[in-house]
């Protein structure tokens, strides 16, 4: 079996009495989309934050390409190739769409401490940024102020910025939320092709998208992974049906 790109061991995290992660282990293999599903408040975003380095786990380890990154912060993990999208759009709202994408390209390329040359005429960064915007379908909006985008467009820009990073792993927290049927379909198509560039850990509520895309699915309930398996296995799992899926996928 190929080595996992991302390997999480025994992650636990409590907020006071709330156990948001209970001994969570999962891995992400090259070329796959691994979906993480679970009801609201199950601890999906908390887990993503711990993988991204924004939140320190109480116990457990995060391994990226065989290296223990548990002690590293967000910035270092991003540099090592973790490309994250946020559940709640997290963008520079006063900047244009293109500027947000260029920021991503700059983070990936490096050279932040340059003080004179106008960055918005740097051909390499512009090429990377525009290519990413085109892939999510925002190419006609590049000069728009991010605050003026619709909710769905901001979601798309989140994904575009992650694309500019050419990461080794994508961590996506509900990228489809608020996209509408057409938008979800387009993004599903994009993610489908993306897995060969880098595997995706995908938190998603849109079950059509999850079952269409995922190679494997893990189900998180009350901070605990109650099942991991192929979509067919998950569909057939009695505990999952009881705890979460109900009749939705019957």
């Amino acid at each position: 079996m190929t080595e996992p790109v991302l390997d999480i061991h025994g992650i636990s995290k409590s907020f006071g009495a709330i156990e948001a992660s209970r001994n969570v282990s999962l891995d992400l293999r090259p070329g796959e989309i691994h979906a993480l599903i679970g009801p609201n408040g199950a601890g999906k975003s908390t887990l993503i934050a711990q993988i991204a380095g924004a939140l320190a786990p109480d116990a457990g380890q995060v391994m990226l390409n065989g290296a223990d990154v548990t002690a590293l912060g967000t910035v270092e993990r991003a540099r090592l190739g973790l490309g994250r999208t946020f559940q709640i759009s997290s963008l520079a709202m006063e900047h244009t769409v293109l500027q947000n994408a260029v920021l991503g390209a700059l983070g990936e390329r490096g050279g932040v401490f340059r003080f004179f040359r106008p960055i918005m005429s740097d051909p390499d960064l512009l090429r990377t940024a525009r290519a990413a915007l085109e892939r999510v379908g925002l190419q006609d909006h590049e000069r728009q102020r991010t605050a003026d985008l619709s909710h769905g467009q901001r979601r798309q820009l989140e994904v575009a910025v992650a694309l500019t990073l050419s990461p080794k792993v994508f961590l996506m927290d509900e990228p489809m939320a608020g996209l509408g049927a057409e938008g979800s379909q387009a993004l599903t198509g994009l993610l489908d092709g993306l897995r060969t560039e880098a595997p995706i850990l995908l938190v998603e509520h849109d079950m059509d998208a999850v079952f269409a895309l995922a190679d494997r699915i893990s189900v998180l309930v009350y901070g605990e992974i109650i099942a991991t398996g192929t979509p067919d296995e998950i569909r057939a799992d009695a505990r999952v049906r009881e705890a979460y899926l109900g009749e939705e996928v019957a």
Partner: protein, 327 residues
Amino acid sequence: MTRERLVNAVILLGLLGTALGAWAMDAPYTITLATKVAILALAGVGLNIALGLGGLVSLGHAVFFGIGGYAMGILASHAQSYSPILTTPFVIEGTKSMPVIWLVAILASALAGLVIGALSLRTSGVYFIMITLAFGQMFFYFAISWPAYGGEDGLSIYVRNGFPGLNTLDPIQFFLICFVLLALGLGLTARLARSAFGLALTSARQNAARVQAVGISPYRLRLVAFMLSGMVTGLAGALYADLNRFVSPTMFSWQTSGEIMVFIILGGVGRLFGPVVGAAVFIVLEHVLGGLSEYWHIYLGALLLLVVLFARGGIIGLVAGREVAHD
């Protein structure tokens, strides 16, 4: 040309025109006022790098203004008394040369910015404001309690420092030096805002998590911004001391920090020419109303209140409209 650029050009030419007009009409006091505007505006341009671009509300920028002032005062006082600053382990002489004084002011400010920034940027919000304020007070009381350099009374310099090829005692020539430095400061800030560093810094102001997620450390950006900001304000401090031929601990006071911030808020936070307009309005009010009543700050306060309540983009925002994103 955008409307804001037009407004900026008018402001800059207005300042230059005022000084040249005063020179033609032989009104040296007006030239001095214009010089004061240019210098205070430069101090504001410095703070605007931290505050406007970086979102760092520093209430301690008087530290840099004072360091610049004392760099001038210390170097020039040793030069005028022919006593070296240091004899062991090596000799450092004072100097009456402006460019050397400026360089020392800028380097000392950079060092102070590095130390103060490294400590205070670990906090944010109100704590950051309080820590920068506390550093300002430390420098203030240090200057007061340092008898070698005048203590509470400050230091007087008898003759203005020199600049190669110019007669700095001539008000219009000294104005032009300050004006050129202001224009340079504005030009560099404009470049900075559009650079890679500027994009990352302004993004970190709007959303630090976003910047971290692309692998850039907001802390390092802010530290460098704080240093650059202090360097410009420090240069302004050296010029201000030369304008008055006098430095005192007042340059380190929190009122000075507050006034520099008032220029920016009046003119428009993050607007390139905000500090220029703010400093000009401040000096005009001080000059006009200050002659009528010693409580002229009441009117300044009222104006500030109006701007904050009704014109969030400051006077520049009022005249030139909302800021357009750079491209």
